[in-house]
Subunit: 361 residues, 2 copies
């Protein structure tokens, strides 16, 4: 059997609960597809701070380095919110992981399942039939990582400084990811920038336009980020792939995710060059419901599915997971976050949802 | 009679049509309140380019300098879209106007009138009873204006660079504007930043927190911009005043405006220290419907109302305009953009709407 090494980083809050279900799904895939997932667990986020003194301990980094992919739960919670930002679970774990492993391409699907349109805060007529937007976000450049960055001066003379830089190769590689993804979807890329104000966006738009010529089968449009934030609300179905620099992607992917109304359903992938990647739910650690066994494990399970697809090339197994999730939703299985008290719905807890998905596999 | 000097910059597209109605409303205010508005017209945007070779001609700057306030229409259109960004109507006129006149405080109300909830793409249950969010956006600092900014290098070695800087005094003065505004509203300020990633946001949050102590009667909360983009969609009624740096304010104010479903209704003010200000509709120049006499003049009329309130201290007249607009909406007057084919609605054109508002004054 083919074997893949997975670094398992459950993290905080509901992370360990939903991770347990994703791991059971991996067990089922092992049996069915004659593959092996060798898993090593490691601490991250608040669990890293509490057990090893840091949000991203050295041991964890080494376990990730030895792996073919990282399956990530979620991090953060009120317990660690008073730490300095650099040391907090989210920032202290996620940003270094992205940088160390060169995870430059963040894929964030915002999918509204036709059976779940009721959960969206958008009107039925705006989202009838669902929508499916893929945000492709640049993840290791721009204002997140460029220098200079810091606070200079003293007292009232202090100045806070951040820098947004993009080089041509940085823009090129993320643009290719967006176009390649669009080819497997509805063949439309809308590139988001603020080229009427930002120089980095002027370069962004020029480079994206150039790369676009290599993909004559894909339609390319450009939109300012402020208009993008409006158009998502007005008519999300107009979009297929949204190509964004780091910060615009942070904002618009969250807006798009919330428009679906079911954050607990959305997976994400952060890819390096080659096949290495990190996979995590788009939602947070939901400390308010942690430990109750009621969290929705679907985002974590779909994240495992993305890992099979993008890092391991197990397309058939990945498709099977996606289909199993769609099937249990059609069968009416609902965790509390997506339960709408409609006829035919069955309210289930975390492990019941996991079992239903495995049964459907 | 007290006299005020107004620089009237109608601009492009529907700008001149809706401006004509706003000026008729000013006529009516002159009669009723024994004041005088001395108006000087000037070219701006595409009209500036076509007539004087620049989006913001010198003559226009001088007319504005001689005025007590600027009443601005809207600029831009397909005719000028192929010009370099710096010379285009929007950027070439708006950014220099903001800088030259020190218009650091941008007030952008996103109000959904109870009678117009149907126009929003949000569900009835999310917006029942309407909502009223005021975005207070810093307008002369941050990534829009800080140096270094530009594209360096040649060919594939080029790097696009922007800088986001904020000083303590810059943050302090916009924070005071937000708290003062909140005092006249529901006494809540939510400050938007990205303090988990940006150094300028770390300083922003610290300074806002400090100023907040001077307003113990106003509740202050902080929210990351990505979460802000989500929360606006999920439950806009949770917000009263949103305090934002320049770019976050650009994005969130447009998102909030679109959530109301009636961009043609929303005014804005851009204020300098002292009483000088520029007043303009939040929507664009709508070239697709320009010249047909069907545009909604309400945003322009409410912008004139904000001018009376903030620059001229004519609070009574400003209140009267706001009330007149609410009244004609209650009476069922609707321009095409807000017409929902409901019982009791009367479809009217631009000048009929203007007349109805004047009659209600
Ligand atoms: C926690 C934070 C640093 C992070 C980001 O801004 O990238 C998060 O919001 C995300 O989108 O993954
Ligand atoms: C036209 C553009 C420069 C401007 C901005 O980004 O500020 C516009 O979007 C706005 O919000 O007034």
């Amino acid at each position: 059997a083919k074997a893949f090494k997975v670094a398992v980083l459950p993290g905080d809050g509901i992370g360990p609960e939903v991770m347990a279900e994703a791991l059971r799904v991996l067990d089922a895939v092992e049996t069915k597809y004659d593959v092996k997932f060798e898993r090593t667990h490691a601490n991250v986020g608040g669990a890293g701070i509490d057990n090893e003194g840091k949000a991203l301990p050295e041991t964890t980094i080494n376990i990730c380095k030895a792996a073919d992919a990282i399956l990530f739960g979620s991090v953060g919670g009120p317990k660690w919110e008073t730490l300095p930002p650099d040391e907090q679970p989210e920032r202290g774990a996620l940003l270094p992981l992205r940088k160390i492993f060169g995870l430059y391409a963040n894929l964030r699907p915002a999918i509204i399942f036709p059976s779940l349109t009721g959960a969206s805060s958008l009107k039925e007529e705006v989202i009838a039939g669902g929508f499916n937007v893929l945000v492709v976000r640049e993840l290791t450049g721009g204002i997140y990582f460029s220098q200079p960055k810091g606070i200079e001066g003293q007292g009232r003379d202090r100045i806070g400084i951040d820098t947004m830089k993009y080089s041509v190769p940085e823009i090129e590689r993320i643009t290719h990811v967006a176009f390649q993804a669009a080819r497997k979807r509805s063949k439309k890329v809308c590139s988001i920038d603020k080229a009427n104000v930002l120089s980095s966006s002027v370069l962004w738009r020029e480079v994206v336009t150039g790369i676009g010529k290599e993909y004559p089968d894909v339609e390319l449009t450009h939109m300012y980020v402020d208009n993008g934030a409006m158009q998502l609300v007005r008519w999300p179905k107009q979009f297929d792939v949204l190509l964004c620099e780091n910060m615009f992607g942070d904002i618009l992917s969250d807006e798009a995710a919330m428009l679906t109304g079911s954050l607990g359903m959305l997976p994400s992938a952060s890819l390096a060059e080659g096949t290495f990647g990190m996979y995590e739910p788009s939602g947070g650690s939901a400390p308010d419901i942690a430990g109750q066994g009621i969290a929705n494990p679907i985002a974590q399970i779909l994240s495992a599915g993305m890992m099979l697809r993008y890092s391991f090339g197990l397309v058939e197994a990945a498709d099977a997971i996606d289909k199993a999730v769609a099937k249990v939703l059609d069968q009416g299985y609902r965790t509390r976050d997506i339960y709408q008290k409609k006829d035919g719905e069955k309210l289930v807890n975390t492990s019941e949802m996991g079992k239903a998905i495995i049964a459907a596999l």
